[in-house]
Symmetry: C2
Subunit: 340 residues, 2 copies
């Protein structure tokens, strides 16, 4: 039996294509003392991976050409020579795009197998959910009655941000890029207002109308002109969490716009950039809260699961066409029945 591998063949220019990926295989590896053999169950595809395919300096190191892509993977221990893991354990880790791989256990987290579907640990109970939780609560610090604006609202992070803000008694305004997403945010997830920035002529005026009491918290996944429209409406002591700037990622020259410092000064406002790993010490508490709200039905969650290891590149491309609502991921193998 072989382990299948997907490597970065070349760095994409603009939109990635299949030519940027190389399909490979190797003999099934065997764990040494202190190592594990892992079988991939679910593999995540996320927007941040596009950045790692370039060699531009960013907050995460670039992928090496010729090496396997890595990312969030839920995997099952099929053979263990490691004291802390047993056959049948399911773990979450940053692992290579391989059907099977060897690990020394570092960076792996054992997952409870009866709390929620295992795939949820790549989404609402994983990196995107933790990003939403930590950014909203640790930077935004929402109070009941405040107004929260979320850009990129229909994404894996934005959907959770808005629902967490609703749980906390806030007015929630989402900004997204299609009428289908707008409908999903207001009708399924309980957002108070959702704006389609692609069909809204004056986004600043639309935000003003949607936020009659101003904006207390802005959770920004997008940046650019959408943000300018929000800044114009912030209240005294507003908090702005900078989670992503996808509107500017493909810019070929440094993005320019109105300077924001004067607004922050007049409003005694805070702006904080972050990456989820900054808040690792809060992950235990965050995961417990998120799991409880999922179980209680307070957090809705939608997945778009594509079957088959070979479809990983296509699933990744799908992130950029914007057609899917919900967390995009690939199912590689069925987990073994839970031992009881």
């Amino acid at each position: 039996m072989e382990a299948k591998i997907i490597r970065l063949a070349s760095r994409p220019k603009g939109m990635p294509t299949l030519e940027n990926f190389a399909f490979d295989a190797q003999q099934m590896p065997s764990p040494q003392e202190g190592e594990l053999l892992l079988k991939a169950l679910y593999i995540s595809v996320d927007p941040y991976m596009r950045g790692r395919m370039s060699d531009a300096k960013s907050y995460v190191a670039p992928y090496a050409v010729g090496e396997p892509i890595t990312g969030g993977v839920v995997a099952e221990v099929v053979e263990s020579r490691h004291a802390h893991f047993a056959k049948g354990d399911v773990v979450l880790g940053t692992l290579p795009w391989q059907t099977y791989c060897i690990s020394d256990g570092s960076g792996l987290n054992k997952l409870p197998q009866k709390v929620a579907p295992l795939s949820y640990y790549l989404g609402i109970l994983g990196m995107p959910g933790l990003t939403a939780y930590c950014g909203l609560f640790l930077i935004g610090a929402p109070k009941a009655g405040e107004t929260v604006v979320v850009s990129g609202a229909a994404g894996a992070v934005g959907t959770v941000v808005g629902q967490l803000a609703k749980i906390n008694g806030c007015r929630v305004v989402g900004i997204a890029g299609s009428d289908e997403k707008i409908r999903y945010l207001t009708e399924e997830l309980g957002f108070d207002v959702a704006l389609n920035y692609k069909t809204t002529h004056n986004i600043g005026a639309a935000i003003a109308e949607a936020c009659p009491d101003g904006v207390d918290i802005y959770f920004d996944n997008v940046g650019g002109e959408i943000s300018d429209g929000v800044y114009a409406r912030i209240n005294k002591f507003a908090r702005i969490a900078i989670c992503g700037q996808i509107a500017t990622y493909n810019a070929t020259t440094p993005p320019v716009g109105p300077r924001v410092e004067g607004t922050l000064l007049k409003k005694s406002a805070l702006m904080k950039g972050f990456i989820v790993s900054d808040y690792a010490s809060h992950f235990g508490e965050a995961t417990r809260d998120l799991a409880r709200w999922v179980q209680e039905g307070k957090l809705q969650y939608q997945e778009h699961i594509i079957e088959g290891f070979e479809n990983l590149p296509n699933a990744f491309f799908g992130l950029f066409t914007g057609e899917n609502t919900g967390k995009q991921l690939v199912k590689v193998a069925e987990p073994s029945p839970i031992q009881t």
Copy 2:
């Protein structure tokens, strides 16, 4: 005997002139029950007052045309019909530009008369000192060994910021606008490096050279291109305190520049605007610390005291010519001998 008054006669366009001020006098006022008669000893002139002379919306309300200018004043109680104040008390308050005035006591703080010269409560122990203390410690949170950059470094706030950062074991780089100021910062106040932005061709490169370990804290009084040069050098988890944006105050169109959000994201950096009154709950502790460091000789402080109530407008104009180093203020009357 009369009380002299200086009123705002008209709103200045560009640089203020004597025509914008009206000299007046009224019969000596007499306090009613619950009121005090105050004699001005020292009156402060500060850059923020220029903003209040315009009717543009800002973080402080504009002065009314025809009304007395108001600002920081150290005054002596010459007659009291108020339970909490006695003749001979010295107070700090936001009071009108008058040689004598009536107060109901609200907003007045009694000053200790033996800790430091009374004029210090308009500077290092007053609003500018508290601004420096609160912005540096409550936003910047400096740790020993970190690098702190201060713009507007030779001003009443910047000189205190840099010295407080030195007391906390930081490397301190100041940015100011004359060689005399640069010399004062490094030779008198102990700044590690000071840069004259008017004679430095590439301020970004100069900041890079002055900060070989990057910038952990940026205390910004100025904004604009100087800030762009600093942002390019910030470290992971940097803190940026936005105290003023004097480089953009006179802009006739909204200032535009490179967007800072991407930098804050990559560096997990914080940017926070503030006005000193946001931190009123810390003023007691801050004033005690500042007074102790002044008494111990750890904080140097330079005043430029102009004599005579009639010279208030000229003292104010002097803020904008940039020729003086140190806190600019006017001495109106000699305090009475301290009762012991």
